[in-house]
Amino acid sequence: MLDNLLALFDRKTTIYLVAASGVFSLVVIIGLCFDGLWYRPMPVFDVPLLEMRETLRKNPQDQALREEIRHLDQVVRQDFITTRKRLLVGGYLLFFSLLIFVLSLRRWTVLQQKLPEPLLLSQLAEHPQAQMNLFRTLAFFCIPLALLSLYGLSYLKHHPQIVNEAGLQAPQPPGPPLEILVPDNQKWPQLRGPKGSGVVDDPNLPVSWDVEKAENLVWKVEIPGKGHSSPVIWGDRLYITTGDFESRKVLCYQRSDGNLVWSCALRTNAQLDEELKEDEGDTGLAAPTAVTDGHYIVAFFGTNEIAGIDREGRQIWSRWFGPPDSDFGIASSPILSGSTVYLQLDQGSKEKKHSMLYALDIASGKPRWEIPREVPCSWSTPILVESNGRSELITAADPWAISYDPVSGKEIWRAKVLSGAVAPMPASCNGFFFTATEYSQLAAIKTGGQGDITETHVAWTMESDLPDVAGMVTDGKLLILPNGTGKVRCFDVLTGKRIWTQEYDNGFWSNPTLNGDLVYMTDMEGTTFIFKLADKYEEVGQGKFGEPVLTSFAVADSRFYVRGEKYLYCLGKPQ
């Protein structure tokens, strides 16, 4: 049957078929190339339209431009869809015409073929130099080719950033994944907790401890490295950072027993000045606290390096903000909201305009936005608060306290309430924002402002015995201010009236923590004072570390996690 069918295609029919299908295929190919070259899956939409949108944003009243955008948008989209259709139809046409072309060409070749004559063996004799030729091609083609490809692969091996490495085929871990199942009381994603306020409510937290007598001590481990950053926690993992001139590291500990799970040394393109080796600054190179959302840990260091690391300890991204330029070192910690990391990096003098505020994607490190700030260097960590139905990012620096919209980075309000070296974190409660620093003033700013609100929204100020490093803590009625000389004062939030003052032997640099109605406040020598937040000072207990503690507490599962000068402690009542 097949033979009968093939007999239909004699030489003449076949050659016509070859010619017709060949010409047709060629036309289709040219058409497809022509269309295909114009076809882009994406950028067509970007080029002029985005520019026009930008222009419209600056000049929202321009009705003509608006109409033009709409028109152009429609034209581009229509064109995109018709091109897509043409390419699809063209593809099928080409497929069938090429199939006919190839089959008929084969048929024609077969018909055309002159059958070979049998030869004499001697006519086929191999070239006498054949073996020599083989060795020549081996020596001049195969060996060089092999060596060249080896060199290429070793080059890739030594320059790992060129190849998108591994992980692609990584299997799904069996079972439910982890982070999202973590209960809220096991999350301490950033400095001073989920809200950055240092407030928790857990009646099972200990009210006294003594590390040397192992009273209420769950475990302690020696930290291999220097740093003043505080722990952050997600589920069963605890992260701290250490840093010196040689390397900056993120350490991951098992929260239950203090075993080190992994440590990841940063790899960045930072070119560090040798000066940093001699003088790390008062803050050291690992003062900023990391943030984590369970999937990623973002750590920032005094070298101006920031990096994103996944929970297995692999560095995903990094960035260097240039040589640090700050009087006492870099201390501001990044903070986290959703998948965005905010970093207030105030450097240099006001004239140098080095200060910036960054909003980075936690997973990729790509900036969502970054805006310059006209302030000199500061050491304060911003806070993110919800007030009057909007989110605000409150920053403190000399002389402005500025609030930004976390989504767009636009400034909401500013108040000229500070001066000098600003380090304490702002606080917020009950319709007020508080900013304070030594030799300046404590200012209570009412929420809901817009623009420059120095004259309109500053409710009250206070000018003596202010903190130089430590932040404030408040329950909405009373505000506690520990300072660097050992004085602690309590204010009424609404009126600014001083309720009481208490003096201690040593100064406070660590941020206080409020648990229910108990304030935990640790002095520079490592003694924690625990007292009731009330109209009268009343000490409830003391905790002793036996070494200086300058960091803030992290809390999870009725336990405190504290970093001292040398050790990492887990404190909790015996269970």
């Binding site: 994406m42 709409r70 692609l168 799904q172 997973a363 969502r368």
Partner: protein, 188 residues
């Protein structure tokens, strides 16, 4: 019959040997493979919790338009009036005009439900997988818009071309019984 050539004997013995060795090598490899084999077929999918909406899906896929599309999980949606997946971060007006739409192909339909809620629905025949809406929603909203591979389109390349350039390393193979990796289903 002539006497068998000893060289010939050696040769045929060697050949039998190597054949046996290759056979058992193949068997060994198969056995080793079977020890961790899966009955299920594996297909590519995006883990929405890892996806960082880099936008490479639109351009890297071997198919045009990409097999990676945006899906909308209504149960997670906040039905915002100012949807950051629909509007750019700074829209001039809150209407559906082309100048206010984030989606380059107009694949998102915005429907009024009741004051102040709007429903957003994606027309996947138009979607090109650029992930702009997913980025807007995940960055500033609930993250109810997220990327998934449309399994009706994907040809399941042995080496997924998008996975090679995926910045979040969000691609992996999942058993075909769970073709989609949903944010909600990851809880169970």
């Amino acid at each position: 019959m002539s006497k068998p050539d000893p060289a010939e004997g050696r040769r045929s013995f060697l050949e039998k040997m190597t054949k046996g060795v290759s056979f058992f090598a193949l068997g060994g490899v198969t056995g080793k493979l079977l020890s961790n084999a899966l009955r299920e077929e594996m297909v590519w999918q995006i883990d929405p919790l890892k996806c960082i909406q880099c936008g490479n899906c639109a351009t890297a896929c071997v198919l045009t338009p990409s097999a990676s599309k945006c899906y909308h999980d209504f149960s997670m949606c906040g039905y915002c009036r100012v949807c950051t997946g629909f509007f750019p971060t700074d829209p001039t007006t809150l209407d559906e005009g082309a100048e206010n739409q984030l989606c380059p192909v107009g694949a998102i339909q915005r429907k009024f439900v009741e004051e102040p809620y709007y429903e957003y629905e994606i027309d996947r025949t138009l979607c090109i997988g650029c992930a702009r809406c997913a980025k807007g929603c995940t960055s500033y909203g609930n993250g109810s818009l997220y990327m998934q591979i449309d399994r009706t389109l994907c040809v399941n390349c042995n080496q997924c071309a998008i996975a090679l350039v995926c910045e979040g390393k969000a691609f992996s193979r999942v058993p075909v019984e769970q073709q989609y990796v949903l944010k909600g289903s990851r809880m169970s």
